[in-house]
Symmetry: C2
């Protein structure tokens, strides 16, 4: 049987690495051809069963560049795309901006919760996605759906917050609802998760992902006050709806105790020290976890029946 394949299309958080107006040490290194750190695009994950048809999780503003640099996603006919489905996990600009690019009368299924669909519908610019070609698939939390043949997926609420541009005063933090979701993948006996945004690793979430074969998890910031320390912002990770990797409320320690086959940090902010060699990255790797990068491919090989 065909393998279950994951391809990190974009490993960085909103703004990417480098951010357009940032010259922090990571951003400067990513612009420097002499540095081992290369530029990384904004958050998106491709999933395939067998490598021919693909489902894309989150439509990054960089999707055009991501498709261009990924031969598996190139068209095979005059008008064609291996991308059969796009699934949206929240309404942040870095997760929906790319929907403006996937126009041109190409049929695909667009999966989202009704809360996320309401955000799209409130913006006429997303009318570029002609309903004659793009089939809306409204998904309820915890309901099984199939973005590709041979792949069962399920959306579930994780603690988060509404998208920044939808904030009205101080947002409620750590709320669970349809605004921020994780994805569960079941295929060929494997169980995997994609959780690019998460404010707290609750007991319920820990139990859910325990023993999974693979978990892509929110690696936005290493320390909660990192943006303040680097001097690029005034918000903590928590205020942005993202738990830190390190610290007593961080994800590293609890994730390492859940018997997960492989943990990969994704949605990494430009300020995060795990982009480069150093004690922070060493701590992640010492815990047996990986740091995503654009083009990272993970194949789960089918177990013999």
């Amino acid at each position: 049987m065909a393998n279950l394949r994951f391809l990190v299309l974009g490993s960085a958080a909103g703004g990417g690495l480098p951010q357009w107006n940032c010259n922090c040490s990571n951003c400067a290194a990513a612009r420097d051809p002499a540095s081992p750190l290369s530029a990384q695009t904004q958050s998106s994950l491709g999933v395939s069963v067998g490598g021919s048809d693909w489902a894309i999780f989150n439509a990054s503003p960089d999707i055009r560049q991501q498709i261009l640099q990924t031969p598996a996603l190139h068209p095979h006919a005059l008008r064609h795309s291996p991308i059969k489905s796009i699934v949206i996990t929240n309404a942040d600009v870095d997760h929906i901006g790319g929907l403006l690019t996937v126009r041109e009368k190409q049929p695909f299924d667009l999966f989202a919760t009704s809360a996320i669909e309401k955000v799209l519908d409130a913006n006429p610019v997303f009318g570029v996605l002609d309903p004659a070609h793009v089939r809306r698939r409204t998904i309820r939390l915890e309901e099984a759906f199939s973005p590709l043949a041979g792949l069962e997926a399920r959306m579930f609420a994780v603690p988060g917050k509404v998208a920044l541009y939808l904030e009205d005063g101080e947002p409620e933090l750590g709320i669970e609802g349809e605004q921020t979701i994780g994805i569960e993948f079941l295929s060929g006996g494997f169980r995997a998760y994609y959780i690019p945004g998460c404010a707290t690793l609750t007991d319920a979430l820990a139990e859910r992902i325990r023993g999974a074969d693979l978990v892509f998890f929110d690696g936005t910031v290493f320390t909660d006050d990192e943006m303040i320390t680097v001097g690029t912002g005034v918000k903590t990770g928590q205020r942005m709806g993202h738990m830190a990797i390190s610290g007593k409320d961080g994800s590293l320690e609890p994730l390492s105790k859940l018997g997960i086959g492989r943990v990969v940090y994704v949605h990494i902010n430009n300020t995060n020290p795990i982009w480069r060699s150093g004690p922070e990255r060493a701590a992640v790797e010492a815990a047996g976890m990986a740091v995503a990068f654009d083009g990272m491919e993970i194949d789960l090989e089918r177990r013999s029946e």
Copy 2:
């Protein structure tokens, strides 16, 4: 005195070259590392007086990639950008999509007509441009404004149509209004124009640009029925609001008779044969005109006083 510098950030029309789901001969060539044709990003022009501060005309969805590949637009401080102004010439996705990228609390001036501002305001997602940092400058047609020190600019109506996603039934074609505009640049004794979309070269428009030092002009399609012939679409250039380069209603012949110092075709569709060597490109070059490419730089050197 400092030179007036133009930098083509994106030479391609909406969708870019290659388009994500297109495998026409140009798109296939642009994906082929062995081909001399390289990938090109979506329509945008940078303008500078002296090369330090920049005004960007149209915010391409590829703006993040364009900034990354243009050292002149890299930040010089922890939070900084040489981009001081962004000017929008119409509400097409390929001209406003990039506004979703230039967030991150960076101050700049956003110049647009009230018609284009209404489109932005009707889409809450553009709320990522925090008014505390991005100063809206509503410009009336034919009113002089200064996107940069030492640069006088003027918006003027050109024949066009409303953006595709704003169409309501069959749109009125060739209308002149605030929906599609050209830009006139005056600086250091030079006169230049940026007209990335134009449905007809009217007598009034011809008189306006006559004798200019430099004109960037709508090069979307070479022949009006090109997309139909290539098989990628059912619309003519006219139906999209773009006059062809060739033919009796084309721009090539009339533009060649206006005594313009240099004409550069921009906003080039993926189907356009001028991307590559051949009789069409030869015809453009024989008329003394140029085909834009990403990174093309044109300096107008200040005349001695």
